[in-house]
Symmetry: C2
DNA sequence: ACAAAAAATGAACTATATTCATATTTCGTG
DNA sequence: CACGAAATATGAATATAGTTCATTTTTTGT
């Protein structure tokens, strides 16, 4: 479908991509807060004002970047879900896939961190990005709900709550100061959540 | 010891308290980002410049407020620890005490949220508040380590990691959009962590 | 070739954290 | 009490960054 585009639409996409790429580069280098819109647009070699033809605010571009990442991970998980694997296996695979993705795309980890910083944005304020998390949480929620239906996951706790727990764990791992990799971090925690930390008597 | 203070020192403490109180009030009402230093100092009925005689930056005052909160919770947990209760009981009590504290001091919940927003601040930048979390995490870390030594907690996972998990859970609960109270939220999750979510076959 | 529509642009506007030179208050001392 | 030094208070000035907008440049259909 890209063939039938006029020069205008092509250039528009091109500019959009230039801005997104520049944003990734700058956010990765300096972090979200330390990157100015001017930094992004200079790196993209476009006028500052142009930014606002494509994004409503500096925060919106962050949200869009994260949403894109979540979608890619969700896509990777989809085939496993299609194969009807048990929930605990899916959850464990989720770690590996997310971790691998973050490893292959090192740039997103700083983004993920920035997203963590901004995940608790106050409800009231107008231009709220409506956060990217739903994509992530929604995915885990479905896995967990189906797991409960099959009796693989305990049913005395709402899946949303468990999903929220997984979500917080991924965010914490992204900003963890512990001396282990993101992957080890989330894998261990996933195991803990699956089996608990208390020694059974 | 407060008796032996000159007027100067007393006024200093008084100003400091006025600023802290005003900050709590304003942060609670409008959130951290939406509160300006001017807002705080107007509420405190002091000149704007005075702020910087007491705090290095707007972020520093947030950190100090959180640290104070953490210390109060830690204090409340101390007697339980002294009574040598088992780790799982301490962890469960931690929920209740933290939740009760947040309930009795509603103002801190918005602060806790702001702290969550700012917990992942980039390492490099100069005026980093060195975050309050260590207090919280350190407390849980000790509880868990002792639990492991007594064989109450599984020993194949470093206590720092579990502590990090608890910490992330509290933060997530503070900003949760789920329709349950903070207390229910962290209590359920603590139970999940203690016993796991996987149904044993 | 031309006019209308789309897109780009950066100067100007706004908001706010922070600095700093100055003014005010407090305190020890003669 | 008086006076100078030290501490504290202050808000105007500065610096920075997000956002808007009137204008210019580019593209497209005719």
């Amino acid at each position: 479908m890209e063939e039938k585009m006029g020069r205008r639409e092509r250039k528009k996409l091109q500019s959009r991509k230039a801005i997104l790429d520049a944003a990734v580069e700058q956010f990765s280098q300096k972090g979200f807060k330390e990157t100015s819109v001017a930094d992004i647009m200079n790196a993209a070699d476009l006028g500052i004002g142009t930014f606002y033809n494509y994004f409503q605010s500096k925060e919106e571009i962050l949200v869009q970047l994260i949403q894109q990442m979540v979608m890619e991970v969700a896509e990777a998980l989809r085939e496993l879900k299609a194969a009807n694997r048990p929930a605990d296996e899916l959850l464990a695979a989720g770690c590996r896939i997310t971790a691998r993705f973050l490893d292959e795309n090192r740039y997103v980890l700083p983004l993920f961190i920035s997203a963590a910083e901004h995940s608790g944005l106050p409800e009231g304020s107008d231009k709220q990005p409506k956060v990217a998390s739903p994509g992530f949480k929604g995915l885990y929620e479905r896995i967990l709900r189906e797991g409960q239906e099959r009796g693989e996951i305990r049913q005395d706790v709402p899946p949303e709550l468990i999903a929220e727990m997984f979500h917080s764990i991924y965010q914490a791992a992204a900003i963890s100061k512990l001396n282990i990799s993101f992957q080890e971090n989330v894998e261990m925690k996933t195991r803990l959540i699956l089996d608990g930390i208390r020694v059974k008597k």
